[in-house]
Symmetry: C2
Subunit: 124 residues, 2 copies
DNA sequence: CCTTCACTTAACCTAGCGGTTAAGTGAAGG
DNA sequence: CCTTCACTTAACCGCTAGGTTAAGTGAAGG
């Protein structure tokens, strides 16, 4: 899963299209494993393990009612993921491109550091 | 990487904290492999491969200038990732919770489907 | 009860990740 | 030239992911 931190777990969970499909489904309504398996063309054990991954990332909760186990979307962790990505919005949002260019210019401004062949970016 | 689609590649790339750190660094300024390696306490080959992953996800571009290879953040793919997550904002954004509850009620409304022990969620 | 249903767990597979060290490449420079 | 610098590629490692089939679990029900 790469890191063991929350954010890594969430991004890792989202990296699988099957799990994204499960999330999309659970956004509509809670569902049992059988219901989730039906449209997925993989075995129920496979789905069961995807659910475990989503649960470890705290993206779903599960409840038992008789022989059925329903999965319920818990989207709170998505907020952290969204927040992380949002920090870079200025890099793709065209309405902020001008500002970004300005800020980049600000960063590059100042004493105009010496740039040599050995130090092409003036970091020395 | 789970899927080979663009979105999976991006989320997969973001799932590693080292790669997120690299992105954070490149958001400040373009950087060479050596510069990126310095604060990371892993070997340069390891960083080199992280960069390849980021490049496959189209999150960075690379240019050559003499013996230096600079990496440059290309955040466009982050937009897709952000857009995907945004679809679920109503599940965590409290200002939308009331609306969400309303929509859920709408979905559940109607002929009030029969619910039996065999069909606890009235899907039959 | 014994079976069926709805799962979960186990065992196994192949493929890929992330790290290492060591060897290869290609431009710069004394 | 030959070396050094800044990487990249190769070979190898242990670990995890995602799939399978088969066996286990536990509540419902004739």
């Amino acid at each position: 899963m790469a890191g063991t931190d929350q954010l890594s777990a969430v991004f890792s969970a989202l990296a699988d299209p099957t799990r994204r499909a499960i999330i999309a489904e659970l956004a509509e309504r809670d569902a049992t494993v059988t219901e989730l398996t039906a449209p997925l063309s993989i075995s129920m054990p496979a789905v069961s393990r995807h659910l475990k991954v989503l649960q470890r990332a705290a993206l779903i909760s599960r409840s038992r009612s008789g022989k059925w186990r329903a999965s319920h979307l818990e989207a709170a962790p998505l907020r952290e993921a969204a927040d992380w990505i949002e920090r870079y919005r200025r890099f793709w949002d065209s309405s902020l491109t001008r500002l970004d260019a300005h800020l980049a210019a600000m960063r590059t401004a100042g004493p105009a550091p010496d740039r040599t062949v050995d130090d092409p970016r003036g970091l020395a």
